[in-house]
Symmetry: C2
Subunit: 337 residues, 2 copies
Amino acid sequence: MLVTDSIQCDFFEGTEKLLEVWFGAAEATNQNVSLDLRTIPRHELDNLLGLVKAEIVSFTSNRWTDSYVLSESSMFVSENRFIIKTCGTTCLLDCLGFLLGLAEEYCGFDCIKNLFYSRRVYLKPEMQQGMHQCFETEVKYLKEFVPNGSSYILGQNPGEEWYLFTMDNAVDFDERSDVTLEILMSELDQKKMVQFAKACHPNAEQMTKKTGIADLIPGAIHDGVVFDPIGYSMNGLYKDSYHTIHITPQEECSYVSFETNLKLKDYSKLVDQVVKTFNPGKFILTMFISKDGKSSAMHRRTLSSALNVEGYQRVDLDQPQLKNYSLTYGCFLKCNA
Amino acid sequence: MLVTDSIQCDFFEGTEKLLEVWFGAAEATNQNVSLDLRTIPRHELDNLLGLVKAEIVSFTSNRWTDSYVLSESSMFVSENRFIIKTCGTTCLLDCLGFLLGLAEEYCGFDCIKNLFYSRRVYLKPEMQQGMHQCFETEVKYLKEFVPNGSSYILGQNPGEEWYLFTMDNAVDFDERSDVTLEILMSELDQKKMVQFAKACHPNAEQMTKKTGIADLIPGAIHDGVVFDPIGYSMNGLYKDSYHTIHITPQEECSYVSFETNLKLKDYSKLVDQVVKTFNPGKFILTMFISKDGKSSAMHRRTLSSALNVEGYQRVDLDQPQLKNYSLTYGCFLKCNA
């Protein structure tokens, strides 16, 4: 057990870049193609991650999803959806052209059905590489592949802005019900953070259980990685849903992200539990719900179920209507913090 | 008269950065203060423009407004509103702190009542200096002065995005009715552009009259400047309204901007006339109308009066609701162009 109350260490940019691409085949084809992203060979995924400047450190899978923990965050590959989330100074979007090539060559996917690229504002943008220093150049690059995407900047509070680029104009977008919840936490309780040092819990299984992470989504498979000397990443799979947690414990740049596509009618319990597990000084919550025929009243109920968090004051709220998704952004500050 | 059909010249970034600040005095004061920005001495305005890397090349004024044509665009100073618009690789926002200091020292204005910063995406962002290379760093800087501003990215078409940062949360914003119309034109008809060479019209008065610019807002005072060998800037004053036009004729980077706060019930005639005067291949139109008690039906009529332009197809439309303003963004392409 660490005896210090907090963790002093070098700066690390925990803030992730997150890319989610949904693929389709524009024309019915007689060729022998898989129409399944999971048939992309491992060495090609390694090549792709070489462009990003990250690598695979752990793999697990179930019937629905191939899950990869990366040296910097995570990758989830399912039939027609590719998710890659990378932190640090990785060059996430450098892989986009290569990814589209792999999807066509190995799987027969020749069109992007939808695309989301999002991130919180960086702590130190000047440390990012190339196009990733600013959203404007990221968008310029994305539009070389997706010319007619829309861009959003949500959040007024300095340091809590959240940037999103999405197609959201896909006329033939016909995915099944889709939800994505993210909770991006900062200024974390150092009493919680000391648990995520190798000196405290030497292996991932113990760290996942003892810290309460295993209880967030009961019944899930957990693939956790403990970094040396500090830091933790975990990919979880539960039926057709994934969840992922990444922890940068260092006091001067502490950051924890939680993300899932688990479908719930009411998210208040899950959000409360995540927040209690890490005890952040502030956090952003974002939530997408696809408009798939459900009533707008049901949408509002589900979205609003994540908007009151015990012990926190909601200081900002933004709910833009996208074409295919309802989106909520909230910013929360700890009461009496 | 030029004999060439088009103008070959070095690249110039015509795209302007536009800052508009409304000032107020938070507390009634007994001090001998002017509460009028026009009392800032000229040498201080020169100092301010030194930070921006621009200088005054012409001055005119009327009862309401002091108007300055700059080496790169324009500046308008009225009682409690300061507008500065600069193109090229100027460092517009570098003057913000100094401006706030001048407003307090010379005028007794100790608070910002509203602030707007906007620009189209640059043609060559990599040529911009410091924070101005990207909107993300511009916003970060602006929030040092205005912590709770909102940011917008309007427009889906690559190269036609328009960025806006504004407070729009000023609870005590009580300005009189306010409108701002901008028309940002590119890919201009070179038959029109050759008129804006010194070789074609050696003085500004002639250029303003012969090109139809003088007819856009009849009765206005025009202060025009012809640049050598090509280019033109003009500030116009008509009663309490201003308008301003800046022209970069070079074929590979042609750009013309028109801006006014003239209040009209119907903008269709003015917009048509501006567009016919310059004949762009495409343009962005933006329009702010303050929510000052007018009915929303009247707002919609006024806004929509600028949204159908003969000979052009509207390819993009975005109408976000700000707290104190209705905003419209439209992108137009020439038919059969």
